[in-house]
Symmetry: C2
């Protein structure tokens, strides 16, 4: 392993100073005579020079990398989000450090800390077990945060929100417009604000349209989700459907808190020989990639995951470069994606 070539070597060989070499090699707009510039470039190429960014970073105190903290990249929603983030980061010369928190508060804490130690000045985070003290302190010291979904209470940071409540409302209203009056809701525990909002949207729509809410059609898992469980949402969809199907009267449509859960619902319905959407309609939430791949293709509410990632990243980088000086709060809007899992019920008065 031979010694690294540094700007010092180049300066020597080109008969100039490290300052000048630095000026041309770092694309500074500092004026350097054309001849000299070209000579430096030539020597750099000859020597096969590769800059050591650590040197620059130490000096400029800017690591040109951001962090992303999400529960798990294995969740397709976060995968798209991260892709959006990374695409933007890349195009703007940044790298992204990926951190899977597994929803573990200790891990999350450790991540933001070590990221900051590595001079990462911007972090995009979904699910922060708001360790207010640490976060506040780091923000104080120059950390910039863009958060998803949950408000990081009272902290100086930007947010990208999604209108879950309206999403829930739109989904159920859509069902009502298709003639459904018996609409069930199946969900994982309402431990997350997003799911709670979706649930409220469900109730809002029913209320507003004067449709009776039947509590036995609301199946929400009681047990808290364990990180270790593979495909928790899917399996929960199955379980909740089993419970629902035990009831005397069955609904004509099921609205699910997310697509994964909907897949579980569809799976159990199929297992029990119930045809979708002829006998029971199913509606999801999220519009992950696979929603179009299941049979029948799932009608669902679109959450613009990839776009959210891009926005979050642009917002963060703009903040880092002082293009944006104030905290920004963005509320993204839901959209219905109509496919084939919902039937039309004729008014049979």
């Amino acid at each position: 392993m031979k010694k690294h070539i540094t700007i010092y070597d180049i300066a020597k060989k080109a008969n100039t100073s490290t300052a000048t070499v630095s000026r041309v090699l770092s694309n500074s707009d500092y004026p350097v005579k054309k001849d000299l510039r070209e000579k430096i470039l030539k020597v750099a190429k000859e020597l096969n020079y590769i800059p050591n960014m650590i040197g620059r970073q130490l000096k400029t105190n800017n690591s040109m990398t951001i962090g992303v903290i999400i529960p798990s990249i294995t969740n397709p929603f976060y995968a798209s989000l991260v892709l959006g983030i990374e695409d933007i980061a890349q195009s703007r010369g940044y790298h992204v450090l990926l951190c899977n928190s597994h929803r573990n508060p200790e891990l999350e804490k450790k991540y933001v800390k070590t990221l900051f130690e590595k001079q990462v000045k911007g972090v995009i985070v979904s699910s922060i077990s708001s360790n207010q003290r640490l976060l506040g302190e780091l923000i104080e010291k120059g950390l910039n945060l863009v958060a998803f979904d949950q408000t990081v209470e009272g902290l100086n940071s930007s947010q990208i929100h999604f209108d879950y409540r309206k999403g829930g409302f739109m989904a159920v209203e859509y069902l009502i417009n298709k003639g459904h009056r018996k609409i069930a809701f199946i969900s994982s525990p309402l431990s997350r604000p997003s799911r709670r909002s979706t649930y409220h949207g469900y109730r809002d729509a029913l209320d507003q349209h004067g449709v009776q809410i039947k509590e036995e059609w609301i199946q929400i898992a009681a047990r808290e989700e364990e990180d270790s469980e593979k495909n928790y949402e899917f399996h929960n969809g199955i379980e909740m459907t089993k419970k629902l199907l035990e009831k005397q009267e069955l609904p004509t449509a099921i609205f699910c808190c997310n697509d994964m859960t909907a897949f579980g619902v569809m799976n159990e319905l199929a297992t029990q020989g119930i045809r979708i959407p002829d006998q029971i309609s199913v509606m999801g939430f999220d519009n992950i990639e696979f929603a179009e791949m299941v049979t029948p293709p799932l009608t669902t509410i679109q959450q613009p995951d990839y776009e959210m990632g891009r926005m979050a990243c642009n917002l963060l980088l703009d903040t880092l470069s002082r293009k944006v000086k104030e905290n920004v709060n963005i509320m993204l809007q839901p959209k219905i994606v109509e496919r084939k899992s919902v039937s039309i019920i004729e008014e049979s008065l």
Copy 2:
């Protein structure tokens, strides 16, 4: 934004030297008297000291971060892989820089270069458009590579292989054992070595069991996949199935080059009212998470994505820490995951 606290500040306040502070704060095993050590720790806490790793990195020339280059994190196979990598990296004190290459050779090249500039000494890479010159050069300068799937020809790097050929063989043999004799193959273009191997496995099994190979049942996309296309594999599965179903004689089973393609196949079969597995059986390859969620659950070949990620990362980190000195080549074995998309055909002689 107040000034950063450095070991210098601590040294001053604790009446000692930066050397000693460094020794205790960096967990060096260098002996420091208990009293002094505790005092330093105390002062560090008081001052709310956060180490600046860039300083250390410049000195030690070790960034404690690895890079991962994959086509797209949006592909569930890579998502699991990356999760495995990140879990290990995290547990061993490393961070992971995620790079989505979109199979773009230029981007890939740019990534390995900028990663190296950031003093990333280890990279796990899937899909490298073997820019031999650059890679060789960087390896020469201390880069360590662990590659997936494709051999990085003649380069000094470790590899994690998966026995695609045997996987293809096992899948088709499984089908044969279930009584199938008319077995189709549907695939994206064979531009990647992995898919080529799977295809060979398909032919091997048919040959070896004396089953006739009917070329019209082999539907392989001709057109090269575009990066921009969403869900290319899925849609290709649909297209190829359409073509297949135009044939005079239909197969009783379809073996797909991967699960995503299989979903497309299942989708089109459903659209045309063909029941799975009663009329046509479908077999996938990969065993991504969603294989168990579709209807019917997909019988497929397991590729141990998460485990591969863990192995690759452990291997890389062992190499970086000189625990492993030689290049390692690991060949992972396929396994059948039996679900409900394959029927048994009774011998009707």
